[in-house]
């Protein structure tokens, strides 16, 4: 794939991935065939900041986990009232990383 296209993709979507993985993503995209560009362009990534806001407001009910696609964990949080509050606190700090991991898994699936 063209370097210019890849750099544009990284500039637009870099915030959705872990910083230490961006270089690897760039390399993989450069090696990738041009035919996959349209597919990659259509991918919708979850914003880690939005997840954090949802976690702060609805973390006790597991809404943050439902939002990023962790339905099982979300149900667990919902039934335990956010792990009696402990799980909610932990997720305030973990949800951004979890969202970025989900985004990279989504990208890897597309590649």
């Amino acid at each position: 794939m063209e370097t210019q296209k890849v750099d544009m993709f990284i500039m637009t979507n870099g915030k959705f991935f872990e910083s230490h993985q961006v270089a690897q993503i760039r390399e993989r995209l450069i090696e990738l065939d041009d035919s996959k560009w349209s597919l990659i362009q259509t991918l919708q990534f979850k914003d880690p900041t939005t997840s954090l806001i949802v976690s702060l407001l609805g973390g006790g009910l597991g809404i943050d986990r439902f939002m990023i696609g962790d339905t099982g964990i979300g149900v667990g949080k919902l039934l335990t009232c956010g792990g009696l509050g402990i799980w909610t606190i932990i997720d305030w700090f973990m949800i951004m990383g979890a969202t970025r991991e989900k985004n990279i898994a989504k990208l890897q699936q597309a590649l």
């Binding site: 872990e18 230490h20 932990i90 700090f93 973990m94 951004m96 990383g97 970025r100």
Partner: protein, 212 residues
Amino acid sequence: MDKSFGIYYSNNNDSDTYLDCNRSSGPKENSFWRLQENGDMFKKTSICNTSYLFYNYELDLEYYKRSMINVAKFAYEPGEHEAEKASSSYLMSLIALIAGLPLPIINLLATLIFYLGNRKGTYFVRWHCTQALLSQFSVLFINSYGFWWTISILFSSQCITNSYISYIIAIAIFNITEFIVTIYTAIQTRKGIHIEWWFYGNLSNLICKPQQ
């Protein structure tokens, strides 16, 4: 006779330097110091050519001049998000400690779950999660004893003794110290600076290994 036998490395701060005898090759990075035997003295040279001489006993003094909190060189330069996650492990333990008061186990549970959640993370993140977890272990034992002692005084016929007061003062000092050190480490780790605590740092080095 000049004989290179080890390298000092420092974060441009002499109180943080220590001798690493395992490194026998030359300096690799700007912050590294080369230590050379020069007669009965030692010459310490940095990459920027500022060198000075000092005696053998000074070397020993400097070797043991490791403070309770050390700024150490990590195996690699951590990324922005790695530093954020590592810093979060300390911050989260503090918030859990405050939220869980007066129960002494909430902070340990929170740190343990955070550690388990990051066990597949990068080496830097895992290392700092391990250090945060280990520090919470000792806090648990010390605080639990004080907590149940207080409960027994409140709900049974036991009375307040001098030993009880001294123990409460001791755990208050311990907790405040731990609190301050944790805040300092969280701030430094957020900047990507690797902080090793006395005892817990060595223990974390033994437990946490880089993934092959």
